[in-house]
Amino acid sequence: MLVGDRAKYVGIIVGLTFATLLMTQQAAIFVGLMTRTFGFIADTGLPDIWVMDAKVQFIDDVKPMQDTQLFRVRSVEGVQWAVPLYKGLLKARLENGSFQTCNVVGLDDATLIGGPAMVQGRLEDLRRSQGVIVDDVSASGKLARPPRQPGQASEPLGIGDTLELNDNRAVVVGICHVSRTFQSQPVIYTTYTRATSFAPRERKLLSFVLVKAKPGEDPQRLCQNITRRTGLAAYTQRDFSALTVGYFLESTGIPINFGIVVALGFVIGTVIAGQTFYNFTLDNLRYFGTMKAMGATDAILLRMILLQSLTVGMIGYGLGIGIAALVGTLGSEGELAFILPWQIPVLSALSILLICVASALISIRKVLRMEPAIVFKG
């Protein structure tokens, strides 16, 4: 029946498509943003455990420690190795004179543990004088060199180019690829010693200690031992990621803002689909009455209405999820944080199912309560 009324049919599908798109896309961007918060932790793959000041709440909440803490951690039984890591925000002066805040990461000079995936050059080149490695997106974006001629495009930063980090000369020796960070700042890798020499003079400069557990050692138990012996906080990679996400969920307005948009999508879908479906039922009451007079049971009418509702629901859902995925795929090349784990399409499908069933139930009440005698009233 619904197919026969093209305007309402299209109206419901557009409503459900829009609802699916809003719910799916906003949820996927939310997941994408949350994933970015611990992107740096995920990129640092080799260590099992991150050790830090006990008051650290998330990855960017660096509370520097004394260098001696490294040796205390190394002394804990079960630690195979422990290396220092510097992480801080430093200002880079660009060729055109402007400044750009960068995430500078200092890797252990000897092992370079925690180094990124290289796109150009080699990680070992960091040992060259004043050497730094820059992430590929920033090299062609925020850190790119200004165009030689007005009107031309800016030139990507390449190996051999120089930067000025906190008044220190740095030479680009490689280009790497890293996960996007929450603040989308450029990421610059160098050695620990060089990073601490770039950083402003402070008594404490050690950001994290990266620890590898001995074979057969339970990382969770080792974390407890490190904390007991040193008073520092120690987390497995997974727990530190969870701590970081938990901080953003609890201490920022991000979940509420995204939650409101997702809820809005649900409400808009329900209102449009429910209202249009109800109007469709009212418009077709004569035909439902005819069916009822001819002996159609309540179960048959229920199935008819539910089938129509679920059919438009499936079409709307398919279009919505398709558009969301397309936008996500096209946008993921740029700044858009979009990750679509299987749980989001499943939850969107359940929401649309709920909307369709609710819309159908509102209409079904009208049909079931209707006296079939209305069919003889002209």
Partner: protein
């Protein structure tokens, strides 16, 4: 056939009112009427006299307030809602003034609806519906949608739909009022020829005096009462109008 089997519909003291208090309208004021098996009975009378209410009660789609209505030997008031629905599905065919064909279904699919309601397999239902189209002279319009059909063709589809599951009582509400004279007569000829089988009865509500001659008997109603029942040649006999 004994007397009980000879009567398709028996109404005794039927009363029905709509609304309450000052807005209460007494639509039926004690109707006594019998429709015989194999008979085409017409209900005629001015607008608001209770014709539609009476066929609604006879068809089991409206409950009376008082009195008894037996259809095909069953007391409709004694049936549960589910029993009544099942009874209608099997025993009663409907023809409506505005045809009430589902506009998005083809002629064949519309005709098959009563069979599908009666749980006939879809393939069989469509086969029977196609055959019925042929009998109705609609063989070439089997797949046409109602808006693509003329008024006469639509009413033929509606008649086919009312007959396809072989009901024993067919109720028709103004079946010719939307049709011109010739088409109306053609529809009535078809309805009479196709519908009046063994033991099958037709009750037709109409204002259309041009088709009175198709009736076996005509019951004239006024103000919720039957004022005269007689052959079609003198429907007004016994009244003061």
């Amino acid at each position: 056939m004994n007397e009980a089997n000879d009567i398709a519909v028996r109404c005794r003291g039927l009363k029905k009112a709509y609304g309450t208090g000052n807005t209460k309208v007494q639509a039926l004021r004690g109707i006594d009427l019998e429709v015989r098996a194999g008979e085409l009975m017409m209900l005629v009378g001015p607008s608001g006299c209770g014709k539609t209410t009476l066929i609604s009660v006879m068809a089991g789609i409206l409950n009376q307030d008082e009195g008894e209505c037996q259809v095909l030997g069953r007391d409709l008031n004694a049936m549960s809602r589910q029993e009544l629905t099942a009874f209608r599905a099997v025993n009663i065919g409907f023809v409506f003034q505005a045809f009430n064909l589902l506009p998005m279904l083809s002629a064949k699919e519309n005709i098959a609806i009563p069979l599908l309601i009666n749980k006939v397999r879809r393939g069989d239902a469509m086969g029977q519906a196609s055959a019925m189209c042929g009998l109705m002279g609609l063989a070439g319009r089997v797949t046409s949608l109602p808006p693509e059909l003329s008024g006469g063709q639509q009413q033929r589809v509606a008649i086919a739909r009312s007959l396809v599951h072989c009901p024993r009582l067919i109720v028709c509400d103004e079946p010719t009022s939307s049709l011109d004279h010739d088409t109306g007569r053609m529809v009535m000829e078809l309805l009479r020829a196709m519908a009046l089988g063994t033991g099958r009865s037709l009750v037709v509500v109409t204002h259309d005096a041009r088709i009175f001659d198709f009736a076996d008997r005509i019951a004239r109603m006024d103000d919720g009462r039957i004022v005269h029942v007689g052959p079609p040649d003198d429907p007004w006999k016994g009244t003061d109008t």
